[in-house]
Symmetry: C2
Subunit: 241 residues, 2 copies
DNA sequence: TGCAAGTTTGCACTGTGCGCAATTTTGAGC
DNA sequence: GCTCAAAATTGCGCACAGTGCAAACTTGCA
């Protein structure tokens, strides 16, 4: 969330410095960072949540405890970097969508672009492993929140500065909530099943959730349909923007 | 959020809440609990976030450090109990709404019922004091999340068991997001201003946010009456200014 | 090659969270 | 009133989180 070093294309540095400045030092740092993160994920897998310490992670990654804290402010942050990767990927997809498309459609497309095993697997794994742990679940919430903030920025620049902040916040928050809902329900239904069939379900949930949002959650009666066919795209009430 | 057995610290609502077991012991526990929570809030006020310890809270509340941990699992949890009180209050209002009303209307009404100084003041204060603190912000997120779960339950029992889980999760999440957005924007605009005029702004934001949600976030600059006949909910008064 | 800047590490210290057992308080029955 | 068991509080110890600091080490550039 905070310490995702890679995508901080904020104020001062140019975008091209980002793309073509893989100095030796930077590469080493990135490697260390990712080795710490994957060590944390390994331990989460093998030991389960709450059953390993920062010292364990550091040892597994081959660095000192102190170095761990140079990279991540907490154990949870190291794991959250996995979720951050997923979210950043989604944001990237979102920003690539054509500007004339509606926010909801862009969000739908961006989320669906991630419904492949390569992208969703680590996220789903985190999801399953953090279900019953307070600290870890909090980090996950923070990652979603961070993503919401990014969407607000992206939507603001797309819709123009004159747009109401309330509109931006409410829209971005709702989009993220629906994405989260789709993943949550998918996980409840399928568990950590990453088969193509299961991912199709996730994909459909994402479509449906955005559809519900675009329709203002209007007819609860419609929501009974598990009809996976009846959601071609974000509904019609808003395709004028 | 977890341990909200007797959610209200302030004096008045004990009468109707504690009908079942007002034993002496329970009352004492509740008193201790609330004295710890308010000690925490006092210290947050006077010292600022991150500048006091559990030991300080315990001392202020007149109990031992260990006793603090008997009541709250962490410093943040003690502060979060304030937010929990607010949320629980909102949930209570929500459940009191007539069953035939739409979820959005009920949510709007419930949130608006809390837009009075008595209810919103502690929440707003927390909001302002936790803005720049990781741990505390996380607790706040968790409180919202907990409230979402409650809404899901309430909505499920209102709409019937047959309703799709995706619908429930997406709806509840979006409602909470919009409430959160309204408060966030309000706070950005007005800071911790609790005047009647300021609260009217908050109230209007809550109305507007639910209106946007009910209208599927139709293009903002559009007057847009009657998106669909199926969405009679929440009068779309977003053209008020 | 040498040096300045950047990175890793050990050390020390404060604080968290919780298990455990001793101690005190409480409330109900006698 | 008194007694006693249940419940609450407390002190203590322990493992672990996080952070400042300075010493050691590595990297890149002149």
């Amino acid at each position: 969330m905070t310490q995702t070093s890679s995508q901080d294309a904020t104020a001062e540095s140019l975008t091209l410095a980002e793309t073509s400045a893989p100095s030796r030092r930077e590469l080493n740092k990135a490697a260390t960072r990712s080795s710490i993160a994957s060590a944390a994920l390994d331990l989460l897998r093998s030991n389960g949540p709450g059953n390993f310490t920062v010292e364990d992670i550091a040892a597994t990654a081959g660095v000192s405890r102190r170095t761990f804290f140079n990279y991540f402010p907490s154990l949870e942050a190291a794991l959250a970097s996995v979720a951050d990767g997923f979210m950043d990927h989604a944001l990237e997809q979102f920003r690539l969508r054509p500007a004339e498309e509606s926010i909801l459609e862009s969000a739908q497309a961006a989320l669906m672009a991630l419904a492949d095993p390569m992208s969703v697997a680590p996220m789903a794994e985190l999801f399953s492993l953090t279900q019953d742990n307070r600290q870890l679940a909090r980090s996950e919430l923070e990652a979603w929140e961070h993503c919401t903030a990014q969407i607000i920025d992206a939507a603001r620049s797309r819709l123009g500065e004159g747009i109401s902040e309330l509109y931006l916040h409410a829209l971005a928050g709702s989009v993220i909530s629906c994405g989260k809902a789709a993943m949550t329900v998918w996980f409840i239904e399928r568990g950590p099943d990453l088969s193509a069939e299961s991912l199709a379900v996730l994909r459909q949930h994402l479509i449906d959730a955005m559809g519900l949002l675009g329709a203002g959650f209007a007819p609860p009666s419609n929501a009974f349909s598990t009809a996976t066919t009846a959601s071609p795209s974000v509904p019609t009430t808003k395709d004028r923007f």
